[in-house]
């Protein structure tokens, strides 16, 4: 495997050359600063970009052409990355060795056009499609309560406020999107194109010179992005958690507990925090799973998820509402066990092994390979070999010390009938 890095016309091209795959993975990443009210624009933007194109008149036309070039799969999303957002296209298509000569160029041209050549009419996105997509998105938000997990997540985000800018309440988000016009959304898109930072990744059995040649003709980018820090530090640690209970007529209750962590070092955030969350609520051997699920049969799922770039963590569980207090007390006990180092050395070493294994697995997936390189470039992650070295240095005491920096912020329950 070889890595090539080219300075192109306003962007960087990264080629990961490997003959281990039958497919080519292609990813466009435009990073831009998270701004106030960005969330009003981002969901609609990705919907518009993926469903319209200046080159085609309908989705059927897009999909028919797509099939004619052996059906590349693709997706467009806008992701939260701490204080930045990333407009990202990811795609995968068969290497032309397995289809026919010339398909590399055709696939790259087709996929690239979604991001750089949207259908624009009178200074705005195509109005007919914009109005339809807006209405569908609004209906999705308005009926979000039908999807209890998503609704609970959105309510916790409103309560916790971990982002650089205020997270909008669902009603405010709905009203913001309702008032948005196709011209305003296009202006937002243009601001990303003028202020963003573009990185292109290609991974597969390709000729790096041919790829460079293709992109030198395909893309010219005028973004003026300045390097900024992705990290969002948390403040306002509470002495007593904010307890919020909403009611529904569901059978099950959805519990999410949100935590803020107090000023972690890079080493803590990248390594100790990983171990902490996995020991507490990673796999089936984790403390939460063993206690709340296996010992007390209170739930089917319980797990902890980190948001590294925000220095926050969430614990999710589906329970009977009558067991709310009991579950919270058991979770509290396990948090104390983390602080006191009451977890086995076997578990501690086991989760380290999982981490080392995940590093080895990176080379088995083009998606992971690109994500790994991207994380080194975007958020200064260590190289894979340094990651292994650093993880091996983490001690049980490090985990216990980190546990003292974990502050419960909000306990949210979407309470069902049972």
């Amino acid at each position: 495997m070889k890595y090539y890095d080219y300075d192109m016309d306003g962007f960087k091209l990264h080629v990961i050359k490997t003959n281990r795959f039958k497919t080519v993975f292609y990813s466009i990443n435009i990073r831009f600063e998270d701004n106030k009210d960005s969330e009003i624009y981002t969901s609609l933007l990705s919907r518009m970009l993926i469903q319209t194109s200046s080159k085609f008149n309908s989705l059927r036309e897009i999909n028919t052409y797509c099939a004619s070039i052996y059906d590349p799969s693709y997706n467009i999303r806008v992701l939260d990355s701490g204080s930045e957002n990333i407009l990202r296209l990811t795609s995968s298509f068969a290497n032309e060795k397995y289809t026919e000569k010339g398909m590399l160029l055709k696939n790259l041209e087709f996929l690239t056009s979604f991001i750089f050549e949207p259908k624009i009419v009178d200074g705005g996105f195509d109005k007919e499609m914009f109005d339809i997509q807006k209405e569908k998105l609004l209906e999705y938000y308005k009926s979000m309560k039908d999807n209890p997990k998503e609704y609970a997540k959105s309510r916790l985000a409103e309560e916790m406020q971990i982002k650089k800018y205020k997270v909008l309440k669902l009603d405010d988000l709905i009203s913001g999107i309702s008032n948005l016009s196709e011209v305003e959304l296009y202006n937002f898109y243009q601001s990303i194109m003028s202020k963003g930072c573009l990185d292109i990744f290609i991974c597969g059995d390709v000729d790096e010179k041919e790829v460079k040649e293709i992109f030198s003709k395909l893309i010219k980018f005028k973004g003026t992005h300045k390097k900024i820090n992705h990290l969002v530090k948390q403040h306002d640690f509470k002495d007593m958690p904010n307890i919020v209970v909403d009611k529904t007529n569901n059978t099950q209750s959805n519990l999410i507990i949100g935590f803020k962590l107090d000023n972690l070092s890079d080493f803590e955030r990248n390594y100790v925090f990983v171990l902490y969350s996995w020991i507490l609520g990673g796999g089936m051997s984790s403390l939460l799973s063993q206690t709340v699920r296996e010992k007390y049969s209170l739930c089917y799922y319980i797990y902890a998820v980190r948001q590294n770039l925000f220095e926050t963590m969430k614990i999710y569980a589906g329970i009977d509402g009558v067991n709310f207090e009991k579950t919270c007390n058991l979770i509290q006990d396990e948090l104390e066990n983390m602080e006191n180092g009451n977890f086995s050395l076997e578990l501690f070493e086991g989760v380290k092994e999982i981490y080392y294994n995940s590093l080895i697995r990176i080379e088995d997936s083009q998606d992971d390979l690109v994500a790994s390189y991207a994380s080194e470039i975007f958020i200064n992650n260590d190289s894979i070999s340094d990651r292994k070295k650093n993880m091996s240095k983490v001690t049980k005491e490090d985990v216990m010390n980190l546990a003292k920096k974990v502050h419960v912020d909000t306990i949210y329950l979407l309470k069902g009938e049972v």
Partner: protein, 428 residues
């Protein structure tokens, strides 16, 4: 051991059958990680069965295959197999669908320890009244997720409304009552019938030496005493072509409406080859509802649709079941009619057919890119066709439009069942 190849896909498979009946399929590919999977042909839709020597069929509660899957991780020494995988840095899990239960791991390194853990996991049961009771709380919570999920609500009801006799009508998890009725005796009965190697296959893919793996597996089984025996017999039930109920409305105080439209279609016998028969049938869905169909733009522009319309194809006994699901703002009947008119429009174009073929060939290449995808493909083919389809690439390339048009003439779409989750009237 016999070496076979998926032609056109650069994929070799080494096959072996052990004396105890276990079939082994090993597909070496250049990846650091190795995926191992053992599959038993016991799934959620199998509720009446017997061994060759039994005179009577045994009937068990719905949900038992899934319950058994949970309990196989309980061991007498108290060591959860999942913790062994985790200590080796591997990930592992299991799943149950209507037809099979599969246990699998993925890991780089410690391969033989992981493989041993996998085999021990499925051959060393330990069920007690106490640990069965404990699991009921956990599985009940798993079930309750479905009870609140609009898709699951309409899907589960659809199965009941489509099938008169086939046990496919029972959900894989069973009802809360089913779950709570299961005993350790029921579990042992199912275990003893279906977790014999003659009802199982082992599939492995990744950076492995096939001969070494087979020798290891043989040595493992030499310590267990599985007499050779025939496959378990599942009770055959005759199923009429009609549906049980054509329309059903469930009321829940949701904010949106959910629909499920199911077509029950007797397999046309125009094509004898089962694999090709299914491929030709799936073209009906691809041609009418796939990305290139004209309906794509109609659905996208329809403001009544909150979600896209998803289509699923199930093969159940002698039937193809086509299921269409969507989340709708108002007027579910408008969308149901649109689906009905579209699926019954048999005006097909050769160009579309050829393009869909191209897309399918690409998806086949993608499915051989990772160890778990390969194991899954082999296990599915053995389940449905009794063997891997090594010439699938050529078979797909040879799909022919005129044959499709002839084939589709025999398809009858008269047996339809509709379920609507409505929000107009609140529950009383």
């Amino acid at each position: 051991m016999e070496k076979k190849s998926y032609k056109g896909l650069d994929l070799d498979v080494y096959e072996e059958v052990l004396d105890n009946g276990l079939k082994i399929y090993i597909a070496p590919i250049p990846r650091h990680t190795i995926h191992g999977r053992i599959t038993t042909f016991f799934g959620g839709s199998i509720l009446e069965f017997k061994n060759e020597e039994d005179s009577e069929f045994t009937k068990v509660p719905a949900g038992i295959a899934h319950f058994l899957e949970h309990k196989m991780f309980e061991k007498e020494d108290g060591v959860d197999p999942l913790s062994i995988y985790e200590n080796n840095g591997a990930s592992a899990n299991a799943f149950t669908n209507e037809f099979i239960t599969a246990y699998h791991f993925t890991g780089a390194g410690h391969f033989y320890e992981n493989l041993k853990t996998l085999l021990k996991c499925v051959h060393e049961p330990y069920f007690t009244d106490e640990n069965v009771l404990k699991e009921k709380g956990i599985i009940s919570q798993e079930k309750k997720q479905d009870l609140d999920n609009p898709f699951s609500i309409v899907y589960d009801r659809s199965l009941v409304n489509v099938f008169h006799n086939l046990d496919f009508k029972n959900t894989v998890l069973g009802s809360l009552d089913d779950i709570n009725s299961i005993t350790k005796e029921d579990l042992y009965k199912c275990y003893n019938t279906f977790y014999h190697p003659s009802n199982m296959i082992l599939t492995i893919s990744g950076d492995v030496d096939p001969l070494e793996v087979v020798n290891f597996v043989k040595k493992f089984y030499s310590e267990y005493h599985f007499e050779k025996r025939g496959k378990a017999i599942v009770k055959h039930k005759a199923e009429p072509e009609t549906v049980v109920k054509e329309k059903d409305v469930i009321y829940k105080d949701n904010l949106s409406k959910e629909i499920m439209v199911s077509y029950k279609v007797k397999k046309p016998d125009f094509i004898k080859d089962d694999y090709l028969n299914k491929m030709y049938f799936s073209f009906l869905l691809d041609m009418r509802f796939g990305a290139m169909s004209y309906i794509t733009d109609v659905f996208v522009k329809n403001k009544n649709l909150i979600s896209p319309v998803s289509c699923y194809l199930e093969v159940v006994d002698d039937f193809y079941i086509m299921l269409f699901n969507a989340t709708v703002k108002d007027n579910p009947l408008e969308i149901i009619d649109l689906i009905d008119k579209t699926i019954k429009d048999f005006d097909f174009s050769l160009d579309d057919f050829d393009l869909i073929k191209k897309a399918i060939l690409n998806s086949v290449i993608l499915s051989t890119e990772n160890p778990s995808g390969i194991c899954s493909m082999i296990a599915n083919q053995v389940r449905f066709y009794d063997k891997p389809i090594y010439d699938m690439y050529d078979k797909l390339k040879g799909l022919d439009f005129d044959t499709f048009k002839e084939y589709i003439k025999d398809v009858c779409l008269d047996n339809r069942s509709v379920v609507i989750l409505d929000n107009k009237n609140l529950r009383s």
